[in-house]
């Protein structure tokens, strides 16, 4: 019982003393003091290029790309146009839902 009361006393004391310290340029000072690190964006691009190249080679060798192109050749032009015009509409609806979710 006494332990609980002591615990409560200390919790109250420390929560009264707890303060949030304003940044006041502290983060900027830290960031200025950090050593320069090499930019590693090239890793993403390198892996992206390797991935694209790999999928192209695989696609051509298996004939999947040729089949895909033939498939598109046989689609009526109106279907393609409808698909293209639907794109912004679907995109806008998706964007609207994402925006609503973040608030």
């Amino acid at each position: 019982m006494e332990t609980k009361e002591n615990d409560k006393l200390l919790k109250n004391f420390f929560s009264e003393q707890k303060q949030e310290i304003d940044d006041n340029g502290f983060t900027k000072r830290v960031m200025r003091k950090l050593p320069e690190s090499p930019n590693r964006d090239w890793i993403v691009w390198a892996f992206a290029c390797i991935g694209i190249l790999f999928s192209l080679v695989l696609g051509f060798n298996s004939g999947a790309i040729q089949n895909g192109l033939m498939f598109f050749e046989h689609i009526p032009i109106y279907y393609l146009l409808a698909g293209i015009f639907c794109f912004p509409l679907v995109g806008s609806i998706g964007y609207y839902f994402v925006q609503n979710q973040s608030y």
């Binding site: 006393l9 200390l10 003393q17 949030e20 310290i21 003091k33 690190s37 930019n39």
Partner: protein, 180 residues
């Protein structure tokens, strides 16, 4: 902002070298780390800011050693703990200064001195390890397990530090008329 954000920012920093991710981490943790040092240095704001800065720079330089076995916050406090002890060992800052000098330093350097004197007086009656454990437990809301990782000592020892600290502080605060 959750631990998931921390992990995302750490990944951005380690994989892409994205410094802005570290900016977000610093911004998020500057207040608790500076408060932690401010209490440990008995309100010496310039010294606590220097120590906090050193902590963040060390965290940046050693970010690859963060294995996400514990939270980023626990890892950062572990660095802060080491920075504080390295600084105390190097300067023997607190052992060599007498009480009068410390009090004078507080009056000139600490912007919160008037309101904070009570907590510094209370903390002074504890040993350094007890101060550390009590501050992490009551002020920074860390669990016993996290404190044991931060202070790199067994769970039982942490519990003893907190218990002894609690006993001493309760007596002190009751005598001072706090809570009446």
């Amino acid at each position: 902002m959750s631990n998931t954000d921390d992990l995302r920012w750490v990944s951005q920093l380690t994989l892409l070298g994205d410094k802005s991710a570290f900016d977000k981490l610093t911004c998020k943790y500057q207040s608790p780390i500076r408060r932690f040092f401010l209490n440990l240095t008995m309100g010496d704001a310039p010294l606590s800011d220097d120590l906090a800065q050193e902590t963040f720079i060390k965290a940046y330089l050693n970010i690859n050693s963060f294995k996400a076995l514990s939270g980023f916050s626990t890892w950062l406090y572990r660095i802060a703990y080491n920075v504080f002890y390295d600084s105390a060992r190097a300067q023997k800052h607190y052992a060599d200064l007498d009480e009068y000098v410390i009090d004078n330093l507080h009056q000139t350097q600490n912007e919160f001195s008037a309101e904070k004197m009570d907590i510094y007086k209370a903390l002074k009656i504890l040993r350094k390890e007890e101060q550390m454990a009590v501050l992490l437990f009551y002020m920074e809301d860390k669990t016993h397990n996290e404190i044991s990782k931060i202070m790199n000592c067994p769970l039982g020892t942490v519990k003893t530090y907190i218990l002894k600290g609690k006993e001493k502080l309760t007596v002190y605060l009751t005598k001072a008329g706090y809570g009446n």
